[in-house]
Amino acid sequence: MNWKIWSLKKSPWVFHVNTGACNNCDIEIVNLLTPKFDVERFGIKLVGSPRHADALLVTGVVTRQAAPRLLEVYRQTPKPCVVFAVGACACETGIFHNGYHVAGPVDKVIRQIDPNAIIAYVPGCPPKPEAMISGVVKALSVL
């Protein structure tokens, strides 16, 4: 494992993208970043721009309107990066399966431009912050 991946594991900066979520997962992500769960011990920091990010926390089933925007955000994230599909809707469209406005779950949309994207799934509706931490740590340990 080269030094780039090793340092990425030690200091993953996250950027939060909402592609049409009901906001439940977003509330849980914001809860995650409060001092109570202290994700700074893992080096995780919330950044304000996708260009500073190493991990994208994507919530929501990707709507048709949001799909090109999610792809643009993904393109602007410098590689190597990890995409976390947070919540049942992001992992596999959840209750919006076959909906008229759905462009696909997150992995289907992202693999249109990058078939080798690293995508991690954190299911739940919404997933608890502890589940998200566990997902992030597990994903980083298999990088």
């Binding site: 780039k4 990425l8 202290d38 700074e40 950044v47 304000g48 410098p78």
Partner: protein
């Protein structure tokens, strides 16, 4: 013992004194600039200081905080990411801006270390040169964000410009206090010989310039330009990869150079060896602790509140300090 080693190094690197020249003159200077106490040493100290800031903030918030290697890992990781430059950005300025800022703060740090550890060298740079060079990092931030071709960056740039307009005035006034007390001497080595902070006007000047340094470092309550939640990291929004790493390195160097500047100008500098050196390091740590304290106990200000604060409150206080210093100097009252 480390303090004895410091003395040996500083004597060995003095220009023209080659009693037992370990290396040639150029190599000595290169070592001085690049390794100790130039770039590598200041960077190490700066990242360490950055860790201290984050750890203390975490402890104040009853949480654990990052491990010691965290800031080093951050910079290393940024070096390993790809550097994306927006298509509309002005490429040359975009790339040059962090380099200019970084070199500016590096020159300032080298000057200050030279003045502290090697005061007998003839021209080390005086306080006016230091003031000019101190503007370079902030200027580079403005140029870099203006070259970014992003409305958020434009917001950040305009706020940073207003902030600079705000704090430069009280900072210059506070430095005038120091120059007045020294009787008109400008060189850093001479200013390091006196301790203005023990007098009334010097104390006011120190507090005013502490707040100006807080704004220059971009810490709360004055981190208006790089507010994460408000303007999506305003000035640095389009930077990534190695260029962002250079910005972070510049911020780390600033975290050492600016408190060192305050110590040299207001608190009597670092000693060169023995107990004065230990006391000097304590003074540096004290300034850092004050910066962290202010950072952790205040919310972020709006830009108009910040400019009003600097011009009205700090400006009037610094002007009063200048008058007191002039009176003290004129009538020979030492404590004024």
């Amino acid at each position: 013992m480390p303090v004895r080693t410091l003395e040996v190094f500083s004597r060995g690197f003095a220009v023209g004194e080659g009693k037992r020249a370990i290396m040639t003159d150029t190599m000595q200077r290169m070592f001085w600039i690049v390794v100790f106490p130039g770039f590598a040493f200041t960077l190490f100290l700066g990242l360490l200081a950055g860790w201290v800031v984050r750890k203390v903030s975490a402890l104040v918030q009853w949480r654990v905080g990052p491990p010691l290697c965290q800031p080093f890992m951050d910079v290393l990781k940024l070096m390993g990411k790809e550097t994306l430059i927006p298509a509309d950005a002005h490429r040359t300025m975009f790339i040059l801006a962090p380099v200019v800022g970084f070199s500016g703060i590096l020159v300032l740090a080298a000057m200050l270390w030279q003045a502290c550890l090697n005061p007998q060298v003839p021209f080390v740079g005086d306080v006016i040169v230091a003031m000019y060079i101190m503007v370079l990092p902030s200027l580079a931030l403005i140029i870099g964000s203006s070259a970014s071709a992003s409305p958020h960056a434009a917001f950040g740039a305009s706020r940073e410009m207003k902030l600079i307009l705000g704090y430069e005035l009280p900072l210059v006034l506070a430095l005038i206090v120091v120059i007045t007390k020294s009787g008109g001497q400008l060189s850093l080595a001479a200013l390091a010989g006196q301790t203005p902070v023990l007098s009334v006007s010097g104390l006011i000047g120190f507090l005013v310039s502490l707040l100006c340094v807080q704004a220059k470092l971009g810490f709360v309550p004055f981190d208006i330009a790089e507010a994460e939640t408000e303007v999506s990291s305003g000035v640095l929004i389009e930077y990534s990869g190695t260029l962002l790493a250079i910005w972070k390195i510049m911020q780390a160097l600033m975290l050492v150079a600016l408190p060192l500047f305050l110590v040299v100008v207001f608190m009597g500098g670092l000693g060169t060896s023995g107990w004065p050196l230990v006391w000097g390091i304590c003074k540096l740590v004290l300034v850092l602790v004050l910066v962290i304290l202010i950072k952790n106990t205040n919310p972020r200000l709006r830009i108009d509140q910040a400019v009003r604060f600097f011009w009205v409150y700090c400006g009037i206080a610094a002007a009063a300090a200048v008058i007191l210093a002039a009176i003290g100097r004129g009538y020979g009252i030492g404590w004024l």
